[in-house]
C-alpha cells in the first residue's frame, strides 16, 4: 500500500515522489527499448521491465508502467493504431506488472530480498529458473488474452488466429523466458542497489 502526503484536513494522498519518478523512468525505458527493438517482431525488453517494476515496487506500479507504456507505444506505432487492440495490450501488459508484484510480495515474505546474485550459489540459478518460468507463463497469458480480443474485434475464429500467429507467440515466449532467466535477477539487484543508495544518501 502506497501512502502519500496528506494535504491539510482533507484526506487526499499523493503518490510519493520516488514512486512517481520510478514509474516515469521505467515507462521511458520501456518505450525507448520498444522503438529501439522495433525490427525484432515480438522480441522486446518491455515485458521484463514491467515485470521488474511490479516485483520491486508492487503490482499497482508494475501495472501502471505497462499501461502507460502501451498508451504511448500503441498510439505512436508504425504498425498502426486500433482502440480495442490498444485496450487489450494495455490490460495484457499490466499482467506482467501484477504477476511481478505478487511474486515480489511472496519473495519478501519467504527469503532475502533482493534475491542472491552469487553465481556459485544454487539459489541464484533456482531463482533465475523461477523468473524464466514466470516470464514464460505471463507471456503465454498475455498472448492468449490479446489474441482473444483481437480475434473478437476482427471477427476471426480464435483457433485460426492462434494458428496464424503461432510462430510469433512462440518467439515471444522463448525470448521472454531467456530475458527473464538471464536479466530479471540482475536487473532487480541493480535497481535495488541504486534505490537503496539513494535512501542512504
Amino acid at each position: 500500500m502506497i501512502i502519500g502526503d496528506n494535504i491539510g484536513d482533507k484526506n487526499i494522498s499523493f503518490l510519493p515522489t520516488r514512486t512517481v519518478s520510478f514509474i516515469g523512468v521505467m515507462t521511458a525505458l520501456c518505450i525507448s527499448t520498444n522503438y529501439l527493438m522495433i525490427g525484432l517482431v515480438n522480441v522486446k525488453l518491455m515485458d521484463l521491465l514491467v515485470f521488474v517494476s511490479g516485483y520491486i515496487m508492487g503490482a499497482s506500479v508494475g501495472a501502471s508502467v505497462g499501461v502507460l507504456t502501451w498508451l504511448v507505444y500503441g498510439t505512436l506505432n508504425p504498425f498502426g493504431f486500433n482502440i480495442p487492440t490498444l485496450i487489450a495490450t494495455c490490460v495484457g501488459e499490466s499482467f506482467y506488472g501484477i504477476i511481478g508484484g505478487l511474486l515480489g510480495k511472496s519473495q519478501r515474505k519467504k527469503s532475502s530480498f533482493p534475491p542472491s546474485m552469487s553465481l556459485t550459489e544454487k539459489s541464484f540459478w533456482k531463482t533465475n529458473i523461477k523468473f524464466g518460468i514466470a516470464g514464460f507463463i505471463s507471456t503465454f497469458t498475455y498472448d492468449m488474452f490479446t489474441n482473444l480480443i483481437t480475434s473478437l474485434v476482427f471477427d476471426i475464429p480464435l483457433i485460426l488466429y492462434i494458428a496464424m500467429g503461432i510462430v510469433f507467440t512462440t518467439i515471444h515466449e522463448i525470448s521472454n523466458f531467456l530475458f527473464f532467466f538471464f536479466g530479471c535477477n540482475i536487473l532487480v539487484n541493480a535497481i535495488m542497489k541504486i534505490m537503496l543508495r539513494e535512501v542512504k544518501d
Binding site: I133, F136, I166, T169, T170
Partner: protein, 151 residues
Amino acid sequence: MTNDRSGWMWLSMGLLCAFILASSLAAYYYIEYTNYKNLYVETLIELQKYENSIFIDLLIDYGNGTMEWHNRTCVPIGSSLLNATQAIAEVEYTIGTYGVFVTKINGVGGESNAYWLWYFWNGTGWEWGPVACDAYTLRNGEIISWLYTRS
C-alpha cells in the same frame, strides 16, 4: 512443508511451460505438414495436366533481326510442328502436293522470293526440316526454328 509445496508448484509451472512449448511446436509442424501436403496434392493435379504433353523450344526468326523464342512450349503428344506453331502464333498456309506450306507467321510473309522454312537443332547445328511442317511429329525436348528466308 511450505518449501516442498512451493518446489512442486514451480516444477508444475515448468512442466506447464514445456507443455505449452511442445503443443505450440506440434501445432506449428502440423500446420506446416498440412500446407506441404496441400501443395503436393496441387502439384500432382497440375502434373496430371501435362501427363500427355511434351515440351519443345520454338524459335521464330523474322529475318529482319527480330527473333522470338518460345521456350518450354507445351503441346500434346503427337502434335505436328504446324500444331505447335499455331499454338503460339497466327499462321497462314497453303496446302500443296508435299503438304502444308506456311506463307505467313504473325502477319510476316507473302513477299515474292521469300519463304518460311523450318529447321531443327541436331545437337551441333541447325538442320533443314526434312518434310512439310504438318507431317513432322514433335518429340519431347526438341528445338525447332522458323526462319523467314529471302532468296
